[in-house]
């Protein structure tokens, strides 16, 4: 089992169908297969242990991904937005490597020893310049296909290892081969180093769907590409959808994307007002919420279009509530909620989410496998499952506030504060407290020209939640620190409350 199987099948079945559109360039599945094999020859000649990619989306990305799989070398896309120091450290960790990159990203870097640099345009040009002999990929399902560095919001980035069998199990378990129609096209706006950027390439290839690449996301270009390329499917992270919604509201017009029939989202918590507004603005689109992690080869739970529609239209609070869930596990994985002592919890009880299945890698280069003896992976996400199997997330286990032995999830307090008419954004973090060890701190972003005092917000929470949930410290900021994928940098926020200890 090897990732290239998906590409070989697609190229065999519909060689002329367009696989990748980027700028004015269109590559068919036949072209992509040839380029991947040619790219594998480049990689073999370079005699390296890794193929690194440090770049935005371009045709070189899917070519390099499949070429690395043909060459039997792990593919390592990295976040080009990291600092010089961070990037040089990551590059040091993958030497000897062939690095495919572009001038603006490369310019400030002092490239460590053992890194052979090839410019993206050159890699693409050479890979498309000749037709290599047919080759077969190494049939080693247990080999590492992809190594992804975690975003490192809590420390040094960890190298998550995804094997061919993990990724292919995900694809085979969730995608029907050749299910895309000739005219189908997906807009890929997530960066190549995000697990969703990787699964988009694999799933689209297996489905035989055309991939249209958007190298740098902004709402106007996203909408424009949807119209021009007649996009039928799109995946966005919550911040992207939020910007698209804002943009449409400012324009005052409708989305005017008649071809777009499916929007999937994931990669972070989606605010309820954003998804409801998006459903109003894109009445012709089916919405799907996908919950997954890098370590699980992408999606493990789905909230599908029917649940979105019934949640949106229903007056029943139990049905409405489902819009805030991540749906049910995909058929090929199992979910368990466990308490602090490792005991399995029942419906409606909060604990840590554990997941099991072939697609679950749960492994880091440094620490090895994190699966327990039963094959379960601790996600470090907190949540619960309701009576009928819908999964609700409550934030990262590491973000839980432990106040005098009581566990408090920031999410429920954030939801309540966001409902306050003066609050536009909020993040709740653990702050030091002499009496309780930790207490609740809230960083508030107020709406323009709106006011809400600390006492007023405390009273607002007190009327809606238990008294232990009332923030002892409330601070105000013009905006919250987010990383480029829309994750709040809680580590940074916590530092703004450290004075509370003294």
């Amino acid at each position: 089992m090897n990732l290239v199987m998906a590409l070989e099948m697609a190229a065999e079945c519909h060689p002329q169908r367009i696989a990748v559109s980027s700028g004015g360039l269109h590559l068919s599945y036949g072209n992509l297969l040839n380029a991947a094999r040619a790219g594998a020859e480049i990689i073999r000649d370079a005699n390296v242990k890794y193929v690194g990619v440090l770049d935005v989306n371009s045709p070189a990305v899917p070519i390099a991904l499949f070429a690395a799989a043909y060459a039997g070398v792990p593919y390592v896309p990295m976040n080009y937005r990291l600092t010089k120091v961070e990037l040089e450290a990551l590059l040091g960790r993958i030497a000897r490597a062939l690095l495919i990159t572009d001038a603006p990203v490369l310019a400030p870097l002092d490239v460590p020893a053992g890194i052979k640099v090839m410019m993206r345009d050159e890699f693409q040009r050479v890979a498309l310049s000749f037709t290599p002999e047919a080759m077969s990929a190494p049939a080693a399902p247990h080999d590492t296909a992809i190594q992804l560095f975690t975003s490192g919001t809590t420390g040094k980035p960890k190298a998550a290892v995804l094997r061919h069998q993990n990724l292919m199990s995900y694809v085979l378990g969730t995608v029907e081969f050749g299910s895309a129609a000739e005219e189908d096209a997906i807009l890929i706006s997530v960066p190549p180093y995000h697990i969703a950027g990787i699964s988009a390439v694999l799933s689209s290839t297996y489905a035989g769907r055309r991939m249209v690449q958007l190298p740098n996301f902004d709402a106007a270009t996203w909408l424009q590409l949807c119209r021009v390329e007649k996009i039928t499917n799109a995946f966005v992270v919550p911040t992207m959808l939020s910007r698209i919604v804002d943009h449409l509201e400012q324009e005052g017009g409708s989305a005017r994307v008649p071809a777009l029939r499916a929007i999937a989202y994931g990669g972070g918590k989606m605010p309820l007002p954003v998804i409801e507004q998006a459903m109003r603005l894109f009445p012709g689109a089916d919405f799907t919420n996908a919950y997954g992690l890098t370590e699980t080869s992408s999606t493990i739970c789905l909230l599908g279009p029917d649940d979105h529609r019934s949640g949106f239209e229903s007056k029943d609070p139990l049905v409405r509530r489902r819009l805030a869930s991540v749906g049910k596990p995909v058929p090929t994985v199992e979910i368990q909620i466990r308490g602090e002592g490792g005991e399995v919890l029942g419906p409606g009880q909060s604990g840590e989410i554990f997941v099991r299945g072939e697609q679950v890698a749960g492994e880091y280069l440094e620490q090895g496998s994190l699966l327990d003896s039963g094959g379960w992976f601790p996600t470090r996400d907190r949540g619960q499952v309701d009576e009928v199997g819908y999964v609700y997330l409550e934030g990262r286990a590491d973000d839980v506030i432990v106040r005098g032995g009581e566990n408090i999830s920031p999410g429920e307090i954030e939801d309540v504060l966001l409902d306050h008419p003066a609050v536009s954004d909020v993040a709740v973090v653990a702050v030091p407290d002499r009496q309780w060890g930790e207490a609740v701190g809230a960083m508030i972003v107020l709406r323009e020209n709106a006011e809400a005092t600390e006492a007023e917000l405390q009273e607002w929470v007190k009327q809606r939640l238990r008294s232990s949930r009332v923030p002892t410290a409330i601070r105000y900021a013009d905006q919250l620190p987010y990383n480029e994928m829309g994750k709040v940098l809680r580590r940074v926020l916590k530092q703004q409350f450290v004075d509370l200890v003294s």
Binding site: E8, M9, E12, A207, A262, A264, T299, L302, P305
Partner: protein
């Protein structure tokens, strides 16, 4: 008879059919296409034809094939004329409920 391993691939010695093993049993089985035992991907094609009785409707690319007990499952990675069978039992196409596209 061969011990199959999940993830390994096999091809028909006669027609174009190729498969990948998705799930299997821990015992040796006879995997055939059109009545002829399937061979490794590096094996040499044999001149000849499928056994008349086994040459049914053929294997379709992208379809999953399973036995009645649902213990063995194959993915057809390249379509061909022969009918897939395990220990003489014809395999049938696995019906799956399509999921909404999530990426």
């Amino acid at each position: 008879m061969k011990l199959l391993k999940a993830g390994t691939r096999a091809k028909c010695a006669v027609c174009d059919t190729e498969v990948m093993v998705v799930r299997t049993v821990p015992t040796e089985v006879l995997l055939t296409c059109g009545g002829v035992e399937m061979i490794g991907m590096d094996g040499a094609k044999a001149p000849g034809s499928h056994a008349a009785a086994g040459a049914g409707q053929g294997a379709l690319v992208g379809k999953r094939y399973m036995n009645a007990a649902d213990a063995v499952e194959l993915l057809c990675t390249k379509g061909g004329k022969g009918e897939l069978a395990i220990n003489g039992e014809s395999l049938s196409v696995k019906q799956t409920k399509p999921l909404p596209s999530s990426d």
